[in-house]
């Protein structure tokens, strides 16, 4: 069964069919090895019932007799248990910042975030990973987890429903997310990091859960190179804060300086905490983003 058939027309935008082919060959890579919940396609720290040999161990009463290496018993007259590597599923959490500021850009940052998340989710589904995707505003509700390629439409539908709206602050959203999703795994956080209360505490929270955290910092071209001119009254779309500015080359240069400092600050913060930090433009095509960008960063393989 071709997966592309599962994708209804309305999700074509989110996950184009031609992209799916490329994605099927990829897999999500975690730099850490986590214990999963169900049998999956990933190596687990647990020993289990796979074909791949892992180790021997002394028999202790109560062990499953099926795993005793009888050949060794015959040779050494001692009972050893033959251990195999257990293959388990990977927990993948996608957290999308759907605050109002994400609705800017052409296509909007949120749109780009959703496409990216759909692509990553599809990769995960193909590998039998456990996929959970949530927006900030939904972080306080438990999210449905998707495991198989058959649930791709549900995943896409869930992603599609994420719309820009007023959201709690990063810290509150992440806190709710952590409480609702107790497992460990990969967290991909797609955000513009534009929160006046700061993003640092939110990242610290995620790191405290020992998540493998990827931060994809999505900025629109308007934010990277503002094209505004004249005397303006800028209104913050989230908190309504107003700033009166007269756009001058001096001010624009100053803005670029600030922007650079902002990006640099985020990058440094992440590096120090082994967080993968990926700045990205919202107008970048998803396949390029996934193929070149994320592969370089090691999120996919």
């Amino acid at each position: 069964m071709g997966d592309s058939e599962l994708v209804e027309g309305r999700f074509q935008q989110l996950l184009p069919a031609e992209l799916m082919g490329k994605l099927e060959r990829m897999e999500l890579v975690s730099r850490k090895i986590f214990r999963g919940r169900m049998k999956g396609e990933r190596r687990s720290p647990r020993k289990g019932q796979s074909v791949e040999f892992a180790d021997f161990r002394n028999y202790t009463p109560g062990d499953d007799l099926r795993f005793i290496d009888w050949n060794l018993y015959a040779r050494l007259d001692r009972l050893y248990l033959k251990l195999f590597l257990e293959e388990e599923d990977l927990h993948f959490f996608g957290l999308i910042d759907n605050s109002l500021s994400m609705s800017f850009g052409q296509p909007s940052k949120l749109e780009a975030a959703k496409r990216l998340m759909a692509a990553l989710g599809y990769i995960g589904l193909c590998r039998g990973d456990r996929i959970v995707v949530q927006g900030h505003s939904q972080a306080s509700r438990p999210a449905k987890a998707h495991r198989s390629r058959a649930s791709l439409p549900q995943l896409l539908d869930q992603i599609d429903r994420i719309q820009p709206e007023a959201t709690p602050s990063f810290r509150e959203a992440v806190q709710s997310f952590c409480i609702r999703n107790p497992g460990r795994g990969i967290v991909v956080w797609v955000t513009d990091l534009m929160d006046k209360s700061g993003y640092e505490s939110a990242m610290r929270l995620l790191m405290a859960r020992r998540m493998d955290l990827y931060v994809i910092h999505l900025l629109s071209p308007e934010e990277l190179q503002p094209q505004a001119t004249g005397d303006l009254r800028l209104t913050d779309c989230e908190d309504g804060d107003q700033r009166e500015v007269s756009i001058t080359p001096g001010l624009l240069a100053r803005y670029q300086e600030r922007l650079g400092a902002f990006l640099e600050g985020a990058k440094n913060f992440c590096q120090r905490r082994t967080i993968s930090y990926l700045p990205a433009r919202s107008d970048l095509a998803v396949d390029r983003l996934v193929n070149d960008y994320l592969r370089q960063r090691g999120l996919v393989r």
Partner: protein
Amino acid sequence: MTWLSALAPWQWAVMAAVPLAIFLLYFLKLKRQPLEVPSTLLWRQAVEDMRVNSLWQKLRRNLLLLLQLLFVAALMLAALRPGWSGSMGSGKRYIFLIDHSASMSATDVAGSRLEEAKRLAIQRIDSLQRGDVAMVVAFSDRADVKQGFTQDTRRLRSAVESIQPTQRTTQVSEALRAASGLANPGRVSFGGVNDVQVAEAMPATVILLSDGAFPAVPDVPLDYLTVDYTPVGRDEVANAAILSFSIDRNPEHPEEIEAYARLGAFGPMADSRTISLYRNDQLLDAATVTLSPEEESGVRFGLDDVEEGILKLQIDGEDALAADNTAYAALRPVRRTNLLLVSRGNNALETALATDSVAKLAQVRVESPNFLDGEEYRALLEAGEFDLAIFDQCVPKEVPPCNTLWFGIQPPGDGWNLQEPQGPLLVLDWDREHPMMQYLELGSIRIVEGQPLVPPESATTLLQSDLGPLIAVAPRGPFQDAVVGFPLIDHRQSPPTVNTDWLIKRSFPLFLFSSVEFLGGGVSLSHARSVPPGESIALTMNRKYPKLEIVAPDGKRIQQDRGDQQSIVFSQTERIGPYEVFAEGQTQPLERFTVNLFSQKESSLKPQRELSLGEETIPEAVSTLWGRRELWRPLLLLALALLALEWFVFNRRIWVG
């Protein structure tokens, strides 16, 4: 404290509009384009960065700041009132004497001479330095201190602005004396030995702005005064003037009235001008007179059938001074006195009252003493019919309410007392100044018997004999009583005998005529009096009318309450033209007089280049003095222009920051 407004109301309005305009512009500035952005986080930081860091880095290239600095600098400079270096010292005292006499109304310079003088004065006031004090005096034939010594140039300016032209003649001495009194210390002299200076000398500079049309002032002590004289006006000014205008009866034909005028031509004027004569604003006659420079010519008009009214003589055409082109003469209203003579028959008296001269003045009614008891007498008195009553050796029950003249009898009441008859009497002296006794020669008259008078305290003795006063006049409320202390004809003897030879002297009818004129208030001259502008005039009016109203040429009605005075003194003669005196509630004027310039000095418009004041001759000031030009106005304008440019630049963002 009085508020001196430096600006006209519309100028204030413009001033008030400036902050309003700035306010509006401020709102225009605020009209920014709204733009929604994802977050103002970075913008806020960028703007704050700009504020904090860019100040010194941007200074060089910030055109707006430069403009603002220039604007403020210009404002500050303007506030400091920079100017060219003045040629006057500081901490000095100045006295501005500004001539506002008739000749200063001449229009040979822009506006008028007075406007020019005011302009010069204001220029000079503007160039006063900090610490200088000045005062402003306007003078014509009198001095009017418009502003005492002050440093406040605004007050000085508004004092100068308030000077109005007058039609008066010029006398600089009073103004100079006032200035001198302020500058020179007072002296106390004790018999010429101890001449003590009682105050500090306060040297001052008199800035005299005039055309110099006043007589030399020989007796003003200048001492500490420095006179700085600036003549106002051009030298070559043509002006024709009426120097006199009078009317009189033709002695040969008494019914005909002649009007004479003397005309003068001043400056380069060789022209024939038309002279028009109006009566009550109707043209009566006209003549053409050829005027040659600096010469006088006369013109004469004969008038028939003119009994009364106002005559106006006018030189047609325009010249530099308008005030002397018109002259007025008035024919006094015809009014005859009602005179009552009560006598037992006195031919001499009746004959003296029957002369033509008296007949013009008065209507005489002769009655016998019995008339005094009748009803008619009382009714006539109540109606105020009589102006003068003459009682010849007869006496009414009480003194009538009019002027009275008594012969050889004591008036009723307590005021007058007559001594016992004595005689003969010798005339010692008489009051030659009194109107009743003018032109009389009484030294030779002889009196058989008379009763020397004991007059009331307020009385004036007119004739003094060796035994006491014989004729006296005393006021009684609004009226006058004159008493002659001897009878003319002694009726006590039969047949009556003549008591004095005065009856056959020429002075007797003259005395009666003067008495009728003085006591009766009659009008003998047809030609009303004329005074120069600003001079007061004494008007002797019938006492019947306690309240008078004087109508000036501009139609202003001036109430005058005469009180107990024999004559009223009217001083509001500022304007040239005819004045009419009305009794309260009457439509016919009682009296007329005219105000005319008639001044050769005022009409001769050539400014004096040299003044003779005190013992000094003051030359024309070398006019280096009006050097100061104010810069603050152009600076202020520059500031405004800069402000406008700044707004333009700001709104167009021409600048490259």
